[in-house]
Assembly symmetry: C2
Homo-oligomer: 84 residues x 2
Amino acid sequence: MARVVVSVMPKPEILDPQGKAVQGALPRLGFTGVTEVRQGKRFELELDGEVTDAVLAEVDKMAETLLSNPVIENYTVTVEEPVQ
Amino acid sequence: MARVVVSVMPKPEILDPQGKAVQGALPRLGFTGVTEVRQGKRFELELDGEVTDAVLAEVDKMAETLLSNPVIENYTVTVEEPVQ
């Protein structure tokens, strides 16, 4: 068992209205010093068995085809913790 | 300038219909070996100045009051990269 995390973020050149809304709300709540906010998605996948290169390639494919929209989003795949 | 990441995930005891939908779609797309999927949010905050303990406490407060719903979600705050 292992946990792999797929982080999906809007590409830098893509407008991010959710992030902008958060950014606009922060000063109204009294928080200062934040110059930009981007909002994306985080997927935690629990995998059977060990995380081999083949498994990571498979997760990469999942991220590209199902978890993200490669036209407007970038994704990163990270192995979080090898649970025994 | 520094980037702080706030990850917001549904609490383990909370149903996660988005994650379940992804989990259901994976076998239909030919992907096997994923036993659970949870979907959450990822916020990337660009901060002015250095990341001190006081700044992190402030970000923690943002996460608790604006970025997450503490009744149904857990959050973690991580410093990603100190950009000069």
